[in-house]
Amino acid sequence: MNARRTVAVGALAAALLSGCATRAPEPGTSVAEARFDALVVPGRTTRAELLAAFGPTKTVVFDSGMAAWLYTAPAAGGGHAELVLLLGRDGIVKKMRKRPPYPTDPAP
C-alpha cells in the first residue's frame, strides 16, 4: 500500500506542478474609447447594443444573473485602459468604470 501511495504522491505532485503554470490574462475586445463613451450610457445601453457596436468580449456571469464585461482601449501613453461594465439581470448596463494603465503594470 505504501508503494502505491508513493506512486500516487509522485503523480499528483507532477500534475499539481503542471497545473500551477500561469499565462497572461485574456484581454477584452479592444475598442475606441471615444466611441465607447459616446455609445455606452449606464441605465440605458443594452446587451444587444453592446454586441452590435463592439462585438463579444470577455464576460463573467454570476449566479445572481448579473454579468461583468471587459473591453479595452488603447491608451495615449501606451498600454491599454480597461472599460468595465456591469450588466443587470435585464441586460441593461448598470455601472461602468475605467481603469487607466499604470506605470507599475507588467509589460504585455
Binding site: 500500500m1 502505491r4 501511495r5 506512486v7 500516487a8 504522491v9 503523480a11 499528483l12 505532485a13 500534475a15 499539481l16 506542478l17 503542471s18 497545473g19 500551477c20 500561469t22 499565462r23 490574462p25 485574456e26 477584452g28 449606464p42 441605465g43 470577455k58 463573467v60 454570476f62 449566479d63 445572481s64 448579473m66 461583468a68 471587459l70 480597461e82 468595465v84 456591469l86 448598470k94 455601472k95 468604470r97 481603469r99 499604470y102 507599475t104 503594470d105
Partner: protein, 283 residues
Amino acid sequence: MRRPVSRRAAPALLGAVLAWTAHAQTAPAAANPSSQPAPAAGIQTVTVTYTRDPVDKSYRKMIRGMERFQREHALAPQATLRFRLLPRSPTVDMHGILLRVIGDHITVPVPVAPDNSFTLPRNEQALQEDAAVVANRKTTSMTWRAQVMTPGLPPGTRRLGDLRLECLVGMEAGLVSNSSPLFGWISNALTSPEQVCNSAEGNFLFFTERPVFAVTLRAGDRTEVLPFHFLYAGGDQTRDMLPFCDCQVLLDRTYYAPIWDRGWPDDTLVSFEFMDDAPETAP
C-alpha cells in the same frame, strides 16, 4: 490565467484522483460493518462514535495558525484574529451553525457569532488528541478563512497588512476548503504559507461582504485600481471549473489582493465599490 489556490490543479489531477479512488477502494470494509463477518469469540469489538471527515479542519493546524498570528502581528499591530465560515454550496443554510472541537475523549463547543465568525479556545487535551474542528454542515458546503481586522478603518475598507496576515494564518491553519480530501492533502504537501502569500502566483482568494465591482488601493499619494483579472477569481472560471474553487458561490465577492507586492505598505487601504452601490451623482 490566474488559478485560485484551491482549484488550480483540478483538471490535471483528475487522473490521479481516480488512481487514489482506486486505492481507497481497497479498504472499504471498515466503513461497511454489514459486510464483515461476525467477530470471532475473544475479539474485542470497538464502537466508533465519530469518524473524522478528511476535510474537517485540524485543531492543531488552526492553533498553529493562531500562533502564526502572534508571531507576525507586526503586519497588523492593532488587529484581532477571528475565523469565519463562508458558504460554498448554493443550498447551505448559514444560520445557526454549531461548531465543536472533537477529539477522542473530548468535545469543546465553540460559540459562533451571527456573522459566522468565531475564536478558538486553546485546549491542551484537544491538542494532544489531534482533535478536529467540526461544524454541523457538510464539510464541502462551506469554506473557512481567517479574519484579521484592524479597528477604526473607514467603512467598506480593508488594510493590506491585515490581508497579508489573513493569508499567512489561513494557510498555516489549513483553512482553504477543497472539493476533495486529496486536494487538501496534496496542497498541504506542496504549498507553504510563504509560497502562497509571498508570490504573485500564490492566488490566495479574498472575499468581500457584498458583490464587488472595483477594488482600489491607496497608500500616500499612490492610488491604483486593481486590474480586472484580480476580480472574480481571474474572471476565467467556467461552470465546470467552479466546483473545484471554494469561491463557488462567492464568485462575485472574490478578489486577489497584491499581498506579495512589498511596494504597497501594510498600511495600504483597500477600498471597494460594490455592485449595489448607488451610482455617483454630480453635486
